[in-house]
């Protein structure tokens, strides 16, 4: 499929007022309200071409259906990467990751996905093919349309191509897994920020069968150091010295497989347990994330939910998955729980969960301040509301 044929198809839908659901890898299908069942299902997976690989410029242009793994492998051949850190990279696509506004754990170090986007090709609801930016790394000619499409959940335009800036792959990656005695948690997590060799990622994990393949393990801290060998070695010494002082009992160092372990944690962000779980993401800060996570665990316990928790200690994201014995048990309580959770955390959003009641939960949290402006933008770009209708924030 080409941008032109896609444009023709979308234009036709627009004429007929027919809704279109844009799909790609399906890895983030737990985000947003459920799609309109009568909508035309548009798969972007045919847009799987690497349009231009320009290692000498440290840039690459890809069609939106390119899988993150495919892109990563291509870039690794010239020792570069684009650290999107989205779950299930084998299936996830560039376009899906960008459109969903995915925010990964290493962004505090490398930047957000949006900040790697230097150009785009998009198809608007009326079939207009619009280009923005280009293949240069600095460009202030006109509005930054590309960044505007990022995070718009496919409701302003269908992203067909993204031009990206790349960066060098780190020479070394090392993981650390440690159990933390209860009293040291909050201090340990806030300390991650104070290290000289700032971790690329640091997670407090409670529950989630992500690493050890065991269930019901008490909380643990997983840290990733990245950089030159010298820096990773120095960071290792620094981390060890600190752990010693804090009285952390045992630590395993993961050299081979550190990246895979990291990926498994990112996968866990959106891993659902059948139809009996819902996963929330709360934007906290590194210095209050653990407290807020624990408060939510307490809340969930009141509802007799089981919880699995990941706290991204570097960015402050809190991921809480609540689950029950079966879909019915979850369904009986989830609406009241959702209300109670949003009373405490109005900005919490739902990022995973296949339970049918997702449709009535506050999937996107409280409305953003600039909702009237966003509505007007939607109206100007997609007046017939054919692109992913009803799925995004406040019906955008």
């Amino acid at each position: 499929m080409t941008a032109e044929s896609l444009a023709a198809l979308i234009a036709e839908c627009n004429r007929d007022g027919r809704a279109v659901t844009v799909r790609a890898g399906g890895t983030l299908s737990g985000m947003g309200y459920p799609p309109d069942p009568d909508a035309l299902q548009l798969s972007m997976l045919d847009f799987d071409e690497i349009v231009e690989d320009a290692p000498a410029d440290l840039t690459v242009a890809v069609q939106s259906g390119v899988r993150l793994r495919v892109l990563a492998q291509r870039l690794a051949a010239h020792s570069t990467h684009v650290p999107f850190d989205a779950p299930f990279a084998n299936d996830a696509t560039v376009g899906g990751t960008l459109s969903a506004g995915w925010l990964g754990p290493r962004r505090h170090l490398y930047g957000r996905p949006r900040d790697f986007v230097i150009g785009s090709v998009a198809v608007l609801a009326d079939g207009t093919i619009a280009r923005a930016g280009g293949m240069v790394v600095k460009n202030v000619a006109g509005y930054d349309m590309s960044r505007l499409y990022v995070g718009s959940f496919g409701t302003l335009a269908v992203l067909v191509q993204a031009n990206l800036k790349t960066i060098a792959l780190p020479e070394a990656t090392r993981g650390f897994l440690m159990r933390l005695p209860e009293g040291t948690r909050a201090r340990a997590i806030s300390h991650m920020h104070a290290l000289d060799v700032v971790p690329a990622a640091a997670f407090w994990i409670d529950g989630f069968k992500t690493l050890e393949g065991e269930d019901g393990i008490e909380g643990r801290l997983f840290v990733i150091l990245e950089g030159s060998r010298a820096v990773v070695d120095r960071g290792t010494r620094e981390l060890r010295a600190w752990m010693g002082r804090a009285g952390v009992p045992d630590t395993s160092v993961i050299d081979a497989g550190a990246r895979e372990a990291f990926e498994r944690i990112v996968d866990a962000y959106v891993a659902s347990i059948g139809e009996r779980s819902i996963t929330y993401r709360i934007p906290a800060f590194h210095d209050d994330a653990i407290g807020r996570a624990m408060a939510l665990q307490t809340l969930a316990q009141r509802f007799e939910f089981r919880t699995d928790v990941i706290v991204d200690a570097m960015n402050g994201d809190v991921i809480v998955r609540v689950s029950d014995l079966d879909a019915h048990a979850l369904g009986a309580k989830i609406e009241i729980f959702d209300d109670a959770l949003h009373d405490d955390e109005p900005e919490a959003i739902i990022i995973a969960g296949n339970h049918p009641s997702r449709a009535v939960l506050a999937v996107w949290g409280s409305a953003p301040d600039a909702l009237p402006q966003m509505r007007a933008l939607k109206e100007r770009f997609d007046p017939k509301r054919i692109l992913n209708p009803g799925r995004f924030v406040a019906g955008l």
Binding site: P55, A56, D57, L58, H78, G111, R112, R114, D115, L124, D126, G127, T128, I129, A130, R131, A132, M135, V136, V137, K138, N139, V140, A141, G142, Y143, D144, M145, R147, L148, V150, G151, S152, L156, I167, A168, L169, V197, V198, G227, S228, A230, R234, H286, E347, I349, W364, G365, P368, D369, A370, Q373, M374, L377, E379, R380, F381, F392, V393, A394
Partner: protein, 462 residues
């Protein structure tokens, strides 16, 4: 009538109406425009709202203005209107060192943020060469870059959210951390055409533990730009990678005694910040690449004072131009980094063809060229040659897959160049955003969009 209403709303000392006062606001660092109908100096967001409402009722356009250092006529009134100067909204409202962020009013001078953050071991990364005078509001509106934006990214990478007064005078807030459309991204770089920024949340960064600065000289611009392209192609993105040609280097040396060899064909200034542990390896690698491409001298600054001396030359480059020429026109284009050698060669050819002296000092690592075309304003032939060669440079950049502005913006100067890089559809798509935020084209009119685009020309073809 207008005057009285503004005075009633803001107080007499916040409104300027005298012709000699207005004249001061009729130009920026690029050009002269027309005198505004009034200049106001609001002290708060409420004041800005009040002004916008009055302007609306009186049919006056609004031109927001920071320090007026803009290089594309962005802050210049074209058809009169009310200039809103942020000179009094110059406070840092909040500095949260633990969370590494600050909330600042638009009139805060760029360097003031880093100065305030320094005691906490933090800094604000975007550093336009105008940072001692240009303001955060102006930086946000132009998405300003600077030498250190090579690895840290331009202004848009450092703005977390904005408070904005819209064309009705109503206030809205944006945040990059909330779901919904990324209005922050739309507003940054919108040159005052979508809304008036009344405060910004910005990101502060931890100061690096080690900084090194190296200086390499090359026999000519070609070899230096080959070296730049090779450094980038090797995956090395230093914190800054700046280049000067012979004309510039000599002028800078004469003005600042920065220690640049005066016989060099090109000077490359490289800075890397990060961990001390990495510095030697970095130094060896960059030195190797530089020498492979024919670097004739290589120096490493050994102290803060030496680092400052090497940078002083770069930072003062624009000031040193006065030694070369009574007037100069500063062009700003960005090309793919691998095409830097070609682009520079083309610039040289263009200058030769038009018999103009050109001096180059630029953000080489980004492919962001800044040829300075020297001329004498009193010589109409030279003025004409500068205009034509400036256009030729734009064409060259476009032909090399580049863009017509890397950091200075479109403003009034390059509005008609927009049709050379974007199709009608592309521009119409941008115009849709404008339609939403400023349907009447009252916010900084006659900027950014090509002439005529305000009405019929740039409408979507359906």
């Amino acid at each position: 009538m207008l005057a009285q209403r503004l005075i009633d709303a803001l107080g007499a000392d916040a409104v300027k109406m005298q012709p000699e006062d207005l004249a001061v606001y009729s130009f920026d660092a690029y050009t002269d425009g027309s005198a505004p109908s009034a200049v106001v100096l609001p002290a708060s967001t409420n004041d800005v709202s009040a002004v916008v409402k009055i302007a609306r009722e009186c049919g006056e356009p609004i031109v927001p203005r920071g320090a007026g250092t803009g290089l594309c006529g962005g802050a210049v009134p074209i058809e009169g209107g009310i200039v809103i100067s942020f000179a009094r909204m110059n406070r840092i409202l909040e500095l949260d060192a633990a969370r590494r962020r600050a909330r600042v009013q638009p009139g805060v001078v760029n360097l003031g943020v880093s100065t305030a953050a320094a005691p906490f071991g933090l800094f604000y990364a975007p550093d336009p060469s105008s940072q001692k005078t240009s303001t955060i509001g102006g930086n946000v509106a132009t998405n300003a870059g600077g030498p250190h934006c090579l690895s840290y990214g331009t202004t848009v990478n450092h703005v977390l959210g904005l408070e904005v007064v819209d064309e009705h005078g109503e206030v809205f807030k944006t945040s990059i951390d909330r779901p919904g459309y990324d209005l922050t991204a739309a507003l940054v770089g919108s040159e005052g055409t979508l809304g008036i920024v009344t405060s910004a949340w910005i990101r502060l960064m931890k100061a690096p533990e080690a900084v090194r600065v190296w200086l390499a000289t090359f026999p000519d611009v070609e070899s230096a730009s080959d070296a730049v392209s090779s450094i980038i192609a090797a995956g090395i993105v230093p914190t800054a990678l700046e280049m000067m040609d012979a004309v510039m280097a000599r002028a800078v040396e004469a003005a600042f005694h920065a220690g640049y060899p005066t016989d060099a064909g090109a000077v490359l200034l490289v800075e890397h910040a990060g961990f001390e542990d990495d510095m030697d390896a970095y130094e060896r690698e960059i030195e190797r690449i530089a020498k492979e491409h024919g670097a004739t001298t290589w120096r490493a600054a050994r102290s803060q004072a030496e680092r400052d001396a090497l940078w002083a030359g770069r930072k003062g480059a624009a000031g040193a131009m006065g030694r070369i020429s009574p007037n100069y026109y500063l062009q700003d284009v960005c090309v793919r980094r691998s095409t830097l050698p070609k682009a520079l060669h083309a610039v040289e050819e263009i200058a030769r063809e038009y018999k103009l002296t050109v001096a180059n000092v630029f953000h080489a690592g980004d492919g962001n060229l800044h040829p300075m075309l020297c001329y004498d304003k009193s010589n109409p032939k030279e003025v004409q040659a500068v205009v034509e060669s400036g256009n030729a440079i734009l064409e060259t950049a476009i032909a090399l897959g580049g863009t017509i502005s890397g950091e200075h913006g479109i403003g009034y100067e390059k509005r008609d160049g927009m049709t050379r890089v974007y199709s009608t559809n592309d521009l119409a798509t941008m115009a849709r955003v404008r339609d939403v935020f400023d349907p009447q084209r009252r916010l900084n009119p006659e900027k950014l969009f090509p002439t005529g685009a305000q009405c019929a020309e740039v409408k979507p073809i359906v």
